[in-house]
Subunit: 137 residues, 2 copies
DNA sequence: ATAACAAATGCACTTCCATTGCATTGGTTT
DNA sequence: AAACCAATGCAATGGAAGTGCATTTGTTAT
């Protein structure tokens, strides 16, 4: 089991108290979070710091950004060995319109999408909206 | 060939000069447009009017909203017989990262997506990012 | 035709999220 | 300990979405 320090170190991210707290927060959340979610969890911290921390995590492929159609960007930890930038590794996201949570369905890979001649596909974003398992029960 | 008046009438939308102009603008554009695009095309008109006109068109299923991941909502005319609200009728959208245009690929239907037990899928949004035919040539 | 009503438009304003500039703090290295 | 660079905090900006209200325009009924 890797420690948080080891994760950050392996990605060449300087270890700070703030970053460790935010990372821990993301691990504990099983759903994608907005910047405001993080802000509410760390009221003492400045919004900019949280924003830039997430941006750093994103650049270093620790978190990936999710646009679930609510208009607010969400973030979630990447899988251990995920290569978010590789098309074949893309998973889909589920947005529950009832509880407003967005979940990475990492087991559900996106099927091969064909595009017309002349188009070059580099990236696919797929969001399914509906009712999640917790809300449908 | 239906006239613009006939289209609006058939959808129970009151005919006004502004609405006809905006509809015509959407027809002529072959790509999805932002509110700002419309705003720039009609500098004399008020933004709110354009905003509400698009909302009206949306409610009456004349246009559909597209979230292509740029963070800015885009709109495009529905196909003649499209039922945007029906899941099986969903097509995918292509966003060109070069020219920033977003195109409806109405011929490319979204494949059946499976979600885990307990999840209920109501809607699917699929955006492919890459290079469009005009830019790749 | 005109009065009465409803819908459409225009203006002003607000809110929310994303983002940036700059000053300050804190940690590393020599 | 000095110098340096990265991280943080504060303040402010910008852009898009959305709302309230007054005004104009179009429709309907008398």
């Amino acid at each position: 089991m890797e420690t948080i320090e080891q994760v950050l170190e392996s990605k060449n991210i300087r270890i700070t108290a703030m970053r460790m707290l935010i990372y821990k927060f993301l691990v504990e959340k099983e759903v994608a979070v907005t910047l405001s979610d993080i802000e509410n969890a760390f009221e003492k911290a400045d919004r900019t710091t949280l924003y830039r921390t997430i941006k750093t995590f994103e650049e270093k492929d620790i978190v990936h950004q999710i646009d679930d159609g609510t208009g607010i960007t969400k973030y979630a930890l990447c899988e251990k060995d995920c290569n978010c930038e590789i098309e074949t590794d893309l998973h889909l996201h589920f947005h529950c319109t009832n509880c407003n949570k967005t979940i990475c369905l990492t087991e559900n890979k996106i099927p091969k999408i064909t595009v017309p001649d002349g188009f070059i596909s580099e990236n696919v974003n797929l969001v399914v909206k509906g009712i999640c398992d917790k809300c449908s029960g």
